[in-house]
């Protein structure tokens, strides 16, 4: 369903493309051996190359190339066997070289696509324009001293992948789904941790609007460095409303970079310092072009893990899951692995229900991630086995699960310790029923007069007498036989 904004002059639609900067997972920087760990002491991870000392030269970290290729393959994209690093020239205090080494005319990855999983279970496709590699800049800190700015060069030279989408996004929800999917793919691949709050994934949003049915694109604005999915969606919504207002009040949208103010949820013009940058790109003469062989690319392709889309298809096909559940389960590789362990050899729908409702609920309540879960996938599987073979009832299973969450113990152990085993011994249940019938002639009479509700009362009494352990199906059957006799 297209997202339509009703304006005073007619219906409008959004045209949006995202540029995502993902920090490549690598031990060393793109062109130096300095470390890349997050949160280190300022200026403790800076090499002579990063600080642009005279005579220093960049040397490509092959691991970063491999990660970019892997990501490109995950985006079902064209891998360019020849790519070129160029210099993007501009002055800033946290850019020691006076230029950023980036890819411009010849990126390492070309066109690809990302499939979005929408909340209604439908999918939408967003095209990828390109992925190129570049160095990150350092960090300027303006809040440490009233008169001076401080510079931290730890981030300088860290490898980023800039992933540019086509302007295929027409709904803020799609933008959110795109970011989550991109993050999911990169996490599956192990190429970017996607932690937006640590800045290892950042997003620039290009937004324009047009009348529904209009061809061509109108002027766009750009909001830079958004660091959460929510902010991206908010910024888009704000920009759409603002741009429609501008057009409908007879104005023109100005092509500009705008700042998103997350506390007020609005974008602001940064026009105060408007000057056109001329970055004077040219191939970096310190570096040779990156030449890859098809064999190299094929080898990386052969080592790719199963990615979310394929996994989702498999979960639908093999396990008969609904598309939405499958989408939820494959969003994270760890969740998918957990689910598969539970589901294998068991009823998959039951397994999916337990994972998405009981397990997710418990993890959320405890504030834990799935890899920290006190209930292991093996133990959850055993719990389902205990239900399936009649050892415990579904109701008791919920109690057992709660104890598993508290203690991390296996369900067998808990059932054994607490004596929760379901009573399926006819003789034992019969005894309880006989006592009840003898002791409650009034209720028996009511049932026999046709009051079916009394049966429920009897069942409750039996369960109480057996501390819930009696097999409910058996209790029902025996009671009905006895009362009808």
């Amino acid at each position: 369903m297209p997202w339509i904004i009703e304006g005073e002059t007619g219906d409008w639609e959004l045209v949006c493309g995202l540029e995502v900067h993902g920090q490549v997972i690598s031990n060393a920087k793109l062109f130096s051996g300095a470390a890349t760990a997050f949160g280190a002491e300022p200026n403790s991870q800076v090499s002579l190359v990063d600080s642009a000392m005279p005579g220093m030269l960049p040397v490509i970290n092959e691991r970063c190339i491999e990660q970019a290729v892997r990501t490109g393959l995950g985006l079902k994209a064209q891998i360019n066997l020849r790519s070129v690093f160029e210099r993007k020239n501009y002055f800033y205090a946290d850019l020691p070289q006076g230029y950023q080494i980036s890819q411009f005319q010849h990126p390492i990855v070309g066109e690809g696509s990302v499939l979005l999983d929408m909340p209604d279970g439908s999918t939408a496709e967003v095209g990828i324009e390109r992925l190129h590699m570049e160095q990150d800049a350092g960090k300027s800190m303006h809040d440490q001293d009233p008169k001076r700015s401080f510079i931290d060069l730890n981030r300088t030279g860290v490898c980023l992948m800039e992933i540019v989408s086509k302007p295929d996004i027409h709904d803020p929800e799609e933008a959110g789904a795109y970011l989550r999917k991109l993050r999911s793919i990169m996490r599956y691949l192990g190429t970017c941790d996607g932690n937006m709050d640590e800045g290892s994934m950042r997003c620039d949003v290009n937004v324009s609007v047009r009348k529904v049915g209009e061809q061509g694109l109108r002027t766009r604005t750009e909001c830079k460095n958004l660091n959460s999915v929510r902010f991206v969606m908010q910024a888009i919504e704000y920009e759409v409303t603002r741009q429609i207002d501008v057009y409908e009040s007879g104005g023109e949208v100005v092509q500009e970079t705008r700042l998103f103010d997350s506390t007020r949820g609005e974008t602001r013009s940064m026009r105060a310092k408007e000057f056109a940058h001329d970055y004077r790109y040219f191939p970096d003469p310190d570096l040779l072009p990156v030449e890859l062989t098809q064999e190299y690319v094929d080898k990386i392709a052969a080592d790719l893990p199963e990615l979310p889309d394929a996994k989702k298809e498999r979960f639908i096909g093999d396990f008969g899951l609904p598309a939405y559940d499958a989408g939820v389960l494959v969003a994270s590789r760890r969740t998918a692995e957990y689910f598969e362990t539970v589901a294998t050899g068991r009823d998959a729908k039951t397994a999916a229900n337990w994972v998405t409702s009981n397990l997710f609920g418990m993890l959320k309540a405890k504030g834990l991630e799935i890899w920290d879960s006190p209930v292991s996938a093996e133990n959850l599987g055993k719990l389902l086995d205990l239900i399936a073979d009649g050892t415990i009832s579904g109701r008791i299973a919920k109690d057992v699960f709660e104890i598993m969450g508290e203690t991390g113990k296996s369900p067998d152990e808990i059932v054994e310790e607490k004596g929760l085993k379901q009573v399926s011994d006819e003789g034992a249940i019969q005894g309880v029923i006989d006592e009840l019938i003898d002791g409650n002639p009034g209720q028996v009479a009511q049932f026999r007069e046709g009051n079916e509700k009394v049966l429920g009362w009897f069942v409750g009494q039996v369960m109480r007498a057996t501390q819930g352990k009696a097999n409910p199906g058996l209790v029902n059957k025996l009671l009905r036989d006895k009362l009808s006799a």
């Binding site: 005579g55 220093m56 030269l57 490509i60 020239n89 205090a93 006076g98």
Partner: protein
């Protein structure tokens, strides 16, 4: 004892090996020479303490029989473009005031590892930009050669200090760098040998960058044999320089067989430029005859795009320089001139720190890379560069090497050409094409100008064929029998 500063590098190595003198003695003689020739302004920084320390270490090694090779104990000068651990590295610029790198360039480290003794850091044109050594913040370098007019003459550039130090017997060899002729042209002007190796033969790591795709380090010495010995110590693949060639280093001195019989020597007709000075013309013709007499065969070759080389160079080199020099911003090292904003600090620092020629090249380079001009200048220059390289490739299908003049004139008096940058740039007309094509070339003193000043001929070789270049250079050197000394030394005598 012989006059130790009159020895060639090879002779000194023999003397050390024979125990005729120690490195300490050899070094002290050169330290005294350096101190006695300060009027030439060949050095930005003298490092006598380091020199004595390294000479003593060399003598100790020798006494234990652990000599590193023929460079062990040899006093040399290092162009002040090579970063040297703990020693001021100025690049001839005000903007690097006080900059003492905490690291050593690969080439100077290779020389240290070979046992060479650093006497000091040689003066140069600012950031290696110049052909007369008149753009250094540390002052002009004076050529030890004089003509009858008695005027002070330029030593050429940018490795002017290195050339003068070698010519005036202040050291046995010096490192230079050559981006458009900065080793060969001052070599020619000062009557010494200057070798620019193939691009990628010596590591650029730790050399202050001027134009990265053209810069190449090489030796400057008094003989071709010395150049062979010194290059072997300097060269080698370096993983820290992505453009350094992953190939082994031959025994260059072994290539000097003295036999060039049957070699085909190309004589490029396009180098016979309009208005070529008669003495240069005669020198070149004489060189052709000498090689012919030695058994080589002169062959007429064509390098049709030669006429575009200078213009191409003065687009590509400034373009790269404009970016390479962006790091001198006053933030982390060197000069800082404060301002009220970051931009103002940049402007003040770079305005005060860079000299006129450097600023001119930064402006040219920024211009040719700018939007709207990139295609017409930089991109076109890259295409022409490829054509120039192709010219040489074709020529080398029929010849083994090429002989050409090194410079269009002899050393000129200080002050000449200095108000006309284009006239100054013309000095590079015979040297620049090699840099654009990445080829090796050697300038060998081969004769004299009408005024009695030294002139060099240049031998150009195939990529990574320094051995043939050296072998021909050695024969040319013997045939020319150039043994004149600079007037500066005669004056001293």
């Amino acid at each position: 004892m012989a006059n130790l500063t009159e020895l060639t590098l090879a002779q000194a190595a023999q003397g050390l090996a024979a125990g005729d003198f120690t490195s300490a003695e050899l070094t002290d003689a050169h330290i005294a020479a350096v101190e006695g020739a300060r009027d030439l302004n060949a050095f930005v920084t003298e490092t006598p303490d380091i020199a004595r320390e390294r000479a003593a270490a060399s003598d100790t090694r020798r006494s234990k029989g652990e000599v590193a090779g023929p460079m062990d104990g040899i006093p040399i000068a290092v162009k002040d473009l090579f970063c040297t651990d703990g020693v001021l590295t100025s690049a001839g610029s005000h903007i690097l005031d006080g900059f003492k790198p905490p690291y050593e360039s690969t080439v100077s480290q290779n020389l240290r590892d070979a046992g060479a003794v650093m006497l000091g850091k040689a003066n140069l044109d600012e950031f290696a930009m110049g052909s007369a050594n008149i753009t250094s913040y540390h002052g002009n370098v004076i050529n030890p050669w004089k003509a009858a007019d008695g005027k002070d003459r330029v030593p050429g550039g940018s490795s002017g200090g290195s050339a003068v130090a070698v010519a005036a017997r202040l050291c046995l060899g010096a490192t230079g760098t050559d981006t458009g002729g900065s080793i060969r042209q001052p070599g020619s002007f000062c009557g010494i040998v200057g070798l620019k190796p193939t691009y990628g033969r010596c590591s650029r790591w730790g050399i202050v960058a001027y134009a990265s795709s053209l810069d190449q380090a090489g030796p400057m010495t008094r003989t071709v044999q010395d150049a062979a010995i010194m290059l072997e110590a300097m060269a080698g693949h370096d993983a820290k320089d992505s453009t350094s060639a992953p190939i082994g280093v031959p025994n260059f001195a072994a290539a000097l067989s003295g036999d060039i019989r049957g070699l085909k020597i190309g004589v490029p007709r396009e180098y016979r430029v309009d208005g070529m000075a008669a003495d240069i013309e005669a020198l070149w013709q004489n060189g052709i005859e000498m090689l012919k007499d030695a058994g080589a065969e002169p062959v007429d070759v064509s390098l049709p795009h030669t006429k575009y080389a200078l213009a191409t160079y003065y687009i590509i080199a400034p373009a790269e320089a404009s970016s390479n020099l962006a790091r001198y911003d006053g933030v982390r090292y060197g000069l800082r001139v404060d301002g009220d904003s970051l931009d103002e600090m940049y402007e003040n620092t770079r305005g005060a720190g860079f000299g006129t020629e450097v600023r001119r090249r930064i402006l040219i380079g920024t211009y040719v890379l700018s939007a709207g001009y990139y295609d017409a200048y930089y991109l076109k220059a890259q295409k022409v560069r490829a054509l120039i390289a192709e010219d040489f490739r074709k020529a080398f299908q029929t010849v083994d090497a090429i002989l050409a003049p090194a410079t269009p004139s002899a050393a000129f008096p200080i002050g000449e050409n200095s108000d006309d940058p284009v006239a100054m740039y013309l000095n590079d007309v015979f040297t620049v094409p090699l840099n654009l094509a990445g080829l090796p070339g050697i300038s060998v003193p081969s004769g004299f100008s009408g005024e009695g000043l030294p002139l060099g001929l240049q031998i150009i070789g195939k990529p990574f064929d320094e051995e043939t270049v050296l072998r021909i250079g050695d024969v040319l050197e013997s045939s020319a029998g150039f043994d004149a000394k600079p007037s500066y030394l005669k004056g001293d005598a």
